[in-house]
Structures are given as C-alpha cells and as structure tokens.
C-alpha cells in the first residue's frame, strides 16, 4: 500500500493524502482524534459485508458532518493506492488505485449514491473482490484487527475458529 486518500470521510473533513511508508508505521494521538477512522476508511474501500463494522448505521453517516460550526459535506471519497510493480494484482498497471465514493442524493432523505472506481474508471464491488483476492487482501482478513478485537481469536468459539482457517485454506 502506497497511500490512503481521505476526502470528507468521517472526521477527515478536507482532502488528505496519507502516504504509507514501508516497514512499521505507528499512529498515535488523543482520544477521539480520528485514528480508528483511518482504519474504518481502509475497510470501507475493501467493501465490508455490513456498515456496522465501520460504526455507521447508514452509509451517509460516513460523510463529514461539519462539526459544531461548519457545513456538512455532500459526499465522501476514499482511495487506497497499491504498488503493483510486481503485478500481484492482476491488472496491467504499475499502480492500482481503488476508490469508493458515497454521495447524498438530493431530495431523498438518507438517500445516497455509491460508486466504485479502479484507476479512475467506474467499476463494481465484485471487480474489487476479484482484484484483491489475488493479493490476499480482504476486509474480513486476519491482517486487520479493529479496536477492541485483539482477543477475538481467543474469545471466539472453536467452531468460529475453525471457519477462520477454512477461509484461509
């Protein structure tokens, strides 16, 4: 992963490019600052099965709400940029940019539009799944441990644990 780009996603009201360097990156800061929102942004693009996983009731809850004094945004957009020099992701490109967009639709309360893009071209969530499966990246993978889930592997039932390994097999 080379970069995470957030635009009006939850508490990230502006446009922010967060370069992800190689090796070990630590993120710190005060409570409520927005650290876990970055993790939610990554899961949002990887297409979770449910929005509850990223602490939102409706997809429009993900759009920056303006805080106490500002104006709510109309849309949010998150891109994950992967280095693909080694073509692990089956696409003829040195870089793969996966983008997900959610916009409030005018006139309809809580209505929204949700689009997916691969390197700027419209795509479907299924396209993301196919591209990512080869690179062993998924929203449900054991490589993402959300806040409070660290003891999950120990607390789950033996049956659930067997299922985790079936997915890997």
């Amino acid at each position: 992963m080379k970069e995470i780009e957030l635009e009006n996603f939850k508490s990230f009201g502006r446009r922010l490019r967060l370069p992800i360097l190689s090796g070990y990156t630590a993120i710190t800061g005060p409570n409520g600052g927005g650290k876990s929102n970055i993790s939610d942004a990554v899961i949002f693009v990887l297409g979770p099965k449910s929005s509850r996983v990223i602490r939102a009731g409706r997809l429009t809850d993900l759009i920056y709400d303006g805080g106490q004094g500002g104006k709510p945004a109309d849309y949010c957009r998150v891109s994950l940029v992967f280095d693909n020099e080694d073509r692990t992701i089956p696409l003829e490109a040195g870089e793969v940019r996966l983008t997900r967009y959610v916009g409030r639709s005018k006139g309809v309360k809580d209505g929204y539009n949700s689009y997916f893009y691969v390197n700027g071209r419209k795509a479907a969530l299924a396209d993301f799944d196919t591209l990512l499966a080869n690179a062993r990246i998924s929203a449900e993978g054991y490589n993402i441990v959300q806040q409070g889930d660290v003891q999950g592997i120990v607390d789950m039932t033996p049956l659930e644990r067997r299922r985790v390994l079936e997915d890997i097999a």
Binding site: A26, D149, V154, P158
Partner: protein, 165 residues
C-alpha cells in the same frame, strides 16, 4: 476441502507454538481439532500455558495473557499465509510495559516482509516504529494529521516490571 483445512492446521501448528514460546518467553501453545477424524464435526481448540503455570481453560487466562495468545496466532498466520499489509488498532491496550514492548518488537521483525500500521497510545510501542504519525482533533471536529511526531515529545515511559516486583 477437508484436505485443505488439515494442511493449513498442520502448517500453522509449529509456527504458532514457536511464536507463542518466543512472545511469552517460555510458554507453550498448540492447536487441536475437537474431532481429529472429521474436522467439520467439531471446532478448533487453542491450548496455551504461560511460563511456570499449568494448562487452564483459555478463559481463565488474564487479559494480557489472552492478548499475547491472539497476537501469536496472527503472527503465525503471517508466516504461513503472508498478507502484504497489517493494520493493528490498540492491540496493546491490555499489555503491561514488558509485553507491549515484546509485541512491538515482533511487529518490527515482521515489518521487514510486510507493511505494518499500528495504532497505539503507548510509548513502548511507538518507540519501535520506523515512522510515527500523529492524529489530533482541530476545530469543528476536523481531524488533522502530523506526519512526523518527534518521539522525544512523547514522554510516556512504562512501568518496568522489575521495580514493581
């Protein structure tokens, strides 16, 4: 399908045992199928024993001990079926200073072959990282990012276990 599952378990078991022994400095851990004949008739058990203790039910372990077992499982999976990046959000919340440092050291080791992003409030973890990024809240509930936090400004030290002993 059954073949695939058995292969994963057989490959994972030695990694899990080695990683847990390392991260707990002398503990013992293993994976066992409830039903060896037909894996789909039962689940997968984890057995773990911290150093100098007996085996107990997994739920009798302390919060910190459970976190170490979970992290050993994640690192063991990384060795068997590596993912290109890892995102760990406050996995050190229940760890004392010594164990938080051990986990961070292991992240550092694994970061040679994959990207690791660890969200943490603890200095013993932060100090092991190659890069530190600060995220704070500005006005109007707007998050701000500071790309390079100076570790010296992060004062937290941890409780050295030796002193409390």
């Amino acid at each position: 399908k059954k073949q695939g599952l058995l292969e994963v378990i057989h490959a994972l078991q030695p990694n899990f045992a080695t990683v847990y022994a390392e991260i707990s400095e002398g503990g013992e851990a293993s994976l066992e199928l409830e039903n060896g004949e037909d894996p789909f008739a039962g689940g997968l058990l984890i057995r773990a024993r911290p150093p100098e203790k007996r085996f107990h039910r997994l739920e009798a372990l302390s919060g910190g001990e459970k976190s170490l077992v979970s992290m050993a499982f994640i690192f063991a999976l990384q060795r068997h079926d590596p993912s290109p990046f890892y995102l760990l959000d406050e996995v050190d919340q229940n760890l004392d200073a010594v164990n938080a440092e051990r986990v961070a050291r292991m992240v550092r080791m694994n970061a040679a072959s994959a990207q690791f992003i660890q969200i943490s409030l603890r200095k013993v973890s932060l100090k092991e990282a190659d890069h530190i990024v600060g995220v704070t809240m500005g006005h109007n509930g707007l998050s701000k990012v500071i790309m390079q936090v100076n570790l010296d400004e992060v004062l937290e030290e941890e409780i050295p276990q030796a002193e409390t002993a």
